[in-house]
């Protein structure tokens, strides 16, 4: 894998990328193992909660209510955060968010930043922008460090390096940290990361983070993490810059009582993750002296405007849907061509691209519904997938384009054929004649031309029966038996 960022604008369509991924048996083994382990852990800790469904329902209602009053809660958050000494910035898109962060880092006087794992900064490819401005970002989450040092790309929302096994990680650390004697036990690798990063934590004066929740009522923020690298970045630097999507706001502090139960159990299968940090503005005696929050839209308002797809914004980024998805479990995350992979990526990515890119993603699903079942805030992902498929078809068949669209033309022809018995029978006869050169001796078809080849790429097709049921029925009637 190269260090080229996952960008839906340039990524190959899902079926092509998936085919490559399916050929990588080591990747499939790693992904299968990791998702099996998380799923089993999740099932155990969810199973011990007698009120899990009630929590899910409350989570859904809180998120839905937030989206319906998003302008109010963002303004409330801004006022309270500002009152507590934070500085709130707004960004219409990724480009604007990157510009603001780069300017803020420069103003902090630092040419290095320590970073907490953040999907939002991955989404806007912040690291490349920082590097282009001469600022070195150090990823401090263990998995993100593995990705950064290995010039790789994240493949999972919560465990971004789950496609790598310990031997592969050891090779990266040996090379990049110059540790030829490094062992391959997970403990050895974690210890190496601890030593490598501790010096950075103590030295670098500017931190960059994402956020799990912005609390409108108090102007506070909440970050949920495991390793303590998050706490390091939130407390040791002099300047902290947080980038958050506008969808991350929650109404009140009390809502944490629901979300802090749903998120850890769904994400890592723990009753509670090791560390949750809640902080509000700045405090002269505790943590950074300067604190900025960048509230970023980047197409989230487009999603808000689509009533049927709006629930996509309710996502709290737990990745339970990825672990449960039979498609993701086979292909891993890179095939989705976006930092948001799996079922949530299949609905989120095309919408973040305003439906201009990643059009194959809504089809990257069997609609089995496993994602909906595990979603802690009850996002009906299959429903949104179908809605987006509809939008893709409408886009591709709108105006003159539709006239030249082969699939749309074929669908129209099918509709015409199915409307008339005579045409249907004629089509069946034609089909039997047309298929005859393609049928093998064993009665199966292994190759079809053009678009139909999509079917025979991965499975054979049985030849059409010599006689249809209708033909047989009619013949039987004439013979009287």
């Amino acid at each position: 894998m190269s260090g080229v960022a996952l960008d839906p604008k340039t990524a190959p369509p899902f079926p092509m990328a998936a085919k490559t991924a399916l050929g990588d048996t080591q990747l499939r083994k790693n992904v299968r193992h990791a998702t099996d382990v998380i799923q089993a852990k999740r099932a155990r800790v969810v199973g011990e909660m007698p009120d899990w469904q009630e929590l899910r329902e409350a989570g859904k209602q809180i998120r839905q209510h937030t989206m319906e009053n998003l302008d109010f809660y963002l303004e409330e958050f801004e006022a309270n955060c500002t009152r507590a000494g934070g500085v709130v910035h707004w960004a219409r898109d990724a480009e604007e968010a990157r510009r603001i962060v780069v300017a803020l880092v420069k103003a902090s006087g630092s040419d290095e930043v320590i970073k907490i794992k953040s999907m939002t900064t991955e989404e806007i490819q912040l690291n490349s922008a920082l590097e282009a401005a001469g600022i070195h970002p150090f990823e401090t989450d263990l998995a993100e460090l593995i990705i950064q040092l290995g010039e790789d790309r994240p493949s999972h929302i919560v465990v971004p390096a789950l496609h790598k096994n310990r031997h592969e990680i050891r090779e990266i650390f040996r090379r990049e940290m110059n540790l030829p004697e490094l062992g391959d036990q997970p403990q050895d690798l974690a210890d190496a990361a601890r030593v490598f990063l501790r010096e950075k934590f103590l030295r670098v004066k500017t931190g960059v983070s994402g956020a799990n929740f912005l609390i409108a009522e108090t102007g506070g923020l909440c970050i949920v993490e495991s390793e303590g690298n998050g706490r390091m970045c939130l407390t040791l630097p002099e300047t902290l810059i947080t980038v958050a999507g506008i969808d991350k706001v929650i109404p009140r502090f009390q809502d944490l009582e629901v979300l802090l139960q749903l998120l850890p159990r769904s994400a890592t299968g723990e009753r509670m993750n090791p560390y949750n940090s809640v902080w509000t503005g700045v405090n002269a005696a505790d943590g950074p002296r300067v604190f900025h929050v960048v509230l970023m839209d980047n197409a989230r308002t487009e999603i808000l405007a689509d009533e049927e797809a709006r629930q996509t914004l309710n996502c709290i980024r737990c990745a339970a849907c990825q672990n449960a998805c039979p498609v993701y479990r086979q292909t891993g995350g890179h095939a989705y061509g976006s930092v948001y992979a799996g079922p949530i990526g299949a609905i989120l990515t095309p919408q973040l691209q305003e439906m201009h890119h990643a059009q194959s993603l809504p089809y990257a699903s069997s609609l089995c519904g496993a994602c909906y079942e595990v979603c802690p805030v009850k996002i009906n992902i299959p429903e949104v997938l179908i809605h987006l498929r509809n939008k893709v078809v409408q886009q591709n068949t709108a105006g003159v384009a539709g006239f030249f669209d082969v699939e749309a033309g074929a669908m129209k022809a099918m509709a015409m054929i199915f409307r008339s018995e005579r045409r249907f029978r004629a089509a069946q006869r034609l089909g039997r004649v047309a298929e005859s050169p393609l049928v093998r001796k064993d009665g199966w078809i292994g190759w079809l031309p053009g678009m139909l080849g999509g079917w025979t790429q991965v499975r054979d097709l049985q030849e059409m029966p010599k006689e249809t049921f209708r033909d047989w029925w009619e013949k039987r009637g004439r013979n009287g038996n």
């Binding site: 009120d51 009630e54 929590l55 409350a58 209602q61 209510h65 319906e68 009053n69 998003l70 302008d71 109010f72 809660y73 963002l74 507590a84 910035h89 707004w90 998995a143 593995i146 465990v159 390096a161 789950l162 096994n165 310990r166 997970p186 974690a190 601890r194 934590f201 103590l202 609390i215 108090t218 506070g220 495991s226 390793e227 303590g228 690298n229 706490r231 390091m232 939130l234 407390t235 040791l236 506008i246 502090f253 009390q254 009582e257 629901v258 802090l260 139960q261 850890p264 890592t268 009753r271 509670m272 090791p274 560390y275 940090s277 809640v278 902080w279 509000t280 005696a285 943590g287 308002t301």
Partner: protein
């Protein structure tokens, strides 16, 4: 400043887009009424006896490989001495305001008065109190108050000994959030076991960046 102008027009534009998307402006009254109508049928109060809650907390903490003892107030210092001895730590840091009677004799305690991170990195451990503990999740909650101190103090040293009073133990997360509501603006850290990661083949490894060991003394 130019950035402010950009941000201001971005602010107006993002809010305009949101209102256009929803077809209207959200008001405080409507938001409050709707928020109050959210169905909260999950458990919001304890369902176990006090003994069972404390037992559950001990069990959950041990599940995270933390060591737990439950002692009387007068025994805290002795119990702390035992734990520090077992962990072979000598030099400890403590926040101002930690109950003096809890401090064990024979160990060096440095009071944090804004120590630099590098200085915190040179002590063996930290001893603090806690605002509360949540039994169901094995969590201790620390805030920036006397006896608990600023966040870096419980983060940089490799060992954390935390003293929790039994009256501060709740069973569920909602009870904890309810108790924290009045001080929600303070820097608050939920600690559930020692720092850990499962980033390598989903194997839980203790102690990546935060303290690698956590011990808890419950005071009755």
């Amino acid at each position: 400043m130019a950035t402010d102008m950009v941000t201001n027009s971005a602010r107006a534009e993002v809010l305009r887009r949101i209102r256009a998307a929803k077809g209207g402006v959200a008001t405080a009254e409507a938001a409050r009424a709707e928020w109050s109508a959210i169905e909260r049928r999950y458990r919001r109060e304890a369902t176990r006896s006090r003994e069972a809650v404390l037992e559950l907390l001990e069990d959950r903490l041990r599940d995270y490989d933390a060591r737990v003892v439950c002692v009387r107030d007068a025994e805290v210092a002795a119990s702390a001495a035992g734990m520090l001895g077992d962990r072979k730590v000598r030099r400890m840091v403590m926040p101002a305001g930690l109950t003096a009677e809890w401090l064990p004799a024979g160990f060096e305690f440095v009071v944090d008065e804004g120590l630099a991170a590098a200085e915190l990195d040179r002590v063996d451990g930290v001893m603090t109190g806690a605002t509360l503990a949540i039994a169901e999740t094995g969590t201790v909650v620390l805030q920036n108050v006397a006896g608990q101190g600023r966040r870096a103090v419980t983060l940089v040293p490799d060992y954390h000994l935390c003293v929790v009073r039994v009256e501060d133990v709740v069973e569920t997360v909602p009870e904890a959030i309810h108790r924290l509501q009045a001080t929600a603006g303070l820097a608050t850290t939920f600690v559930s076991g020692p720092s850990a990661t499962a980033d390598i083949e989903m194997t839980r490894i203790k102690g990546v960046h935060g303290p690698r060991s956590l011990d808890v003394i419950l005071v009755d």
